[in-house]
Symmetry: C2
Subunit: 332 residues, 2 copies
């Protein structure tokens, strides 16, 4: 297996150690758990907690920091974290203003985050939850009831994180997070599956010359398979689906993510971003901010996804707010 | 070929278009050339110009912006840019204070940048050049006289860029760039070659279970091939070479880059960073700043490199200075 790892059982622990050692000014971790928190925990604001299975780096720990998450909970690779770790995260970062839990819509995640939230609520901790289900490729899937949660999650982390940083109360932060979710559409295509270290070989093989439309970020089946297309054709197919879903109109303002799934180089992501932006500009849609890079990967999958969020003035303000994490920095 | 591209001849043009479309507040390009410049050109400071063959994204255009480069010149994939484009870059960004040209040590690059510099000097433009040769794996190679230039280049962009931004004169910026070069050591290992789009298949095959020590960022041969090692063992081998070269001592202050070559996921880079930092900390060496990510890739190569710079007070100040580019943001 062409991977730089040590023992398979140690991967998640070592990733956490590496992140904290390399970013001591931004990140800390909870000893004897698998949770990364901000270095400086501020219990006087609404806390944001997310997480899920590993293998999607930099998500979610890469988005812990000022203006985004307060804690990220790690599951093993492609496996939901158990309620105990999630409870550790809640206890560590949530203060009087309460906490918002942001869960990607996968059955295991939804269940485990809910159990942990119930444990914490029984102790009087004030919590709300939003479920992110931005992947418009499938109405239902093998691992979810309803749409799956993918890269659009990063928009929700960013916007809700800025709202919490601005001092809004829990109900307001939840309302804004849900409004973001209701205005996001994401869609991806892949030319390969991905290799989970424990199995040592790709779980799903996409034959040469074909592409899987709507492949999941764990290699779960997509919408259908078709002949491999050029970058521009692939971008057009995806943008048509997104446009149709969001009903984009001339004059709309949007945010855009062009996300690599791990095995697609920046060179190609730039080519794909070019086409995505040209398609939006041709419709006279205004792009407030574009993000191009590997934000939520599927280990080493060759593929990409676009995510578009339709913005109103409130969402736009929070999308543009200042952020300091290891995977996203800057703005304004 | 599992790539999202359009016509092979259009790749570089489309990458440039994509970068400028996605980052209109930071980047601009020179029409009818293959050069990216800062959006706001400041001719009242020393200008920094770098570049080289494409396929190493985000290098070099990802490092154009406040505190780093003023222009990046694109060659075709793994091919040096011709003197005309380099001359275009010089004419566009260099003002009265002059310009510093930063070239990775490859025979074609050194020649083309020198020809372009001579053309511009003939017109009275004040220019100096430094050659970056940080790869300590080989004393000489098939494509260079002397050591090759690789990921340590980013340290030189960052430090010389901060010195220029601070208003230092050309001789001072050159002196500081050269001091940085003299204190950098880089070294990489790979588990695969990379697929140049025009050929459609990897130029060099590394058999399963083996790793190439010191493989070049264009797939050119390294030092030797050996049995594939774990992440920790690979990190130890590399750090021994670097430590020996830089003669690191207790109390030294350093900067560290853990660089992915395109096909190695962030998950593994975090595991490698963990070991690199632990090795340095065990020697009581102080890490001022760690960078972990894909900074100078070899298209889709599975591999990584470490780069260490030994810092004095001056280098440290400029390493930590504020920067706003598309591939590196923040600090201080």
């Amino acid at each position: 297996m062409k991977k730089f790892i040590n023992k398979i059982d140690d991967i998640v622990t070592e990733v956490i150690e590496g992140l904290v050692l390399a970013n001591p000014e931004i990140l800390s971790n909870i000893p004897d758990s698998k949770v990364i928190t901000r270095k400086s925990i501020n219990k006087n604001k609404v806390a944001l907690i997310s997480g899920g299975g590993s293998g999607h780096e930099p998500a979610h720990a890469g988005f812990v920091g000022t203006g985004m998450l307060d804690a990220a909970v790690f599951g093993e690779i492609f496996t939901s974290p158990g309620p105990d770790r999630i409870y550790d995260a809640i206890k560590t970062v949530v203060g009087k203003p309460g906490g918002l839990i942001l869960v990607k819509n996968y059955t295991g995640d939804v269940m485990n985050f809910e159990i942990a939230a119930d444990m914490a609520k029984d102790e009087g901790i004030n919590l709300e939850t939003v479920i992110i289900n931005d992947d418009i490729a499938l109405e239902n899937s093998t691992s979810t009831t309803g749409k799956r949660g993918i890269i659009g999650t990063i928009f929700v982390h960013k916007i809700a994180g800025a709202a919490a940083e601005a001092g809004l109360n829990l109900q307001e932060v939840k309302r804004i997070a849900q409004k973001a979710i209701d205005n996001i559409a994401s869609f991806g295509v892949s030319l390969s599956g991905c290799t989970v270290p424990a199995s040592g070989k790709p779980g799903l093989i996409v034959p040469d010359g074909e592409m899987e439309v709507g492949l999941g970020i764990h290699g779960e089946p997509g919408l259908h398979r078709e002949k491999q297309k050029t970058a521009d054709e692939s971008a057009e197919i995806i943008m048509q689906h997104i446009d149709q879903y969001l009903n984009l109109k001339k004059g709309d303002e949007v945010g855009l993510i062009v996300n690599g799934l791990g095995g697609t180089p920046m060179m190609e992501l730039n080519i794909l971003a070019r086409k995505a932006i040209k398609i939006l500009q041709a419709k006279e849609i205004k792009i407030i901010k574009s993000f191009v890079g590997n934000y939520m990967t599927a280990i080493d999958m060759v593929g990409f996804s676009f995510s578009v969020i339709k913005l109103d003035a409130e969402l736009k303000k929070f999308l543009k707010a200042k952020v300091v994490t290891t995977a996203m920095v800057g703005m304004e």
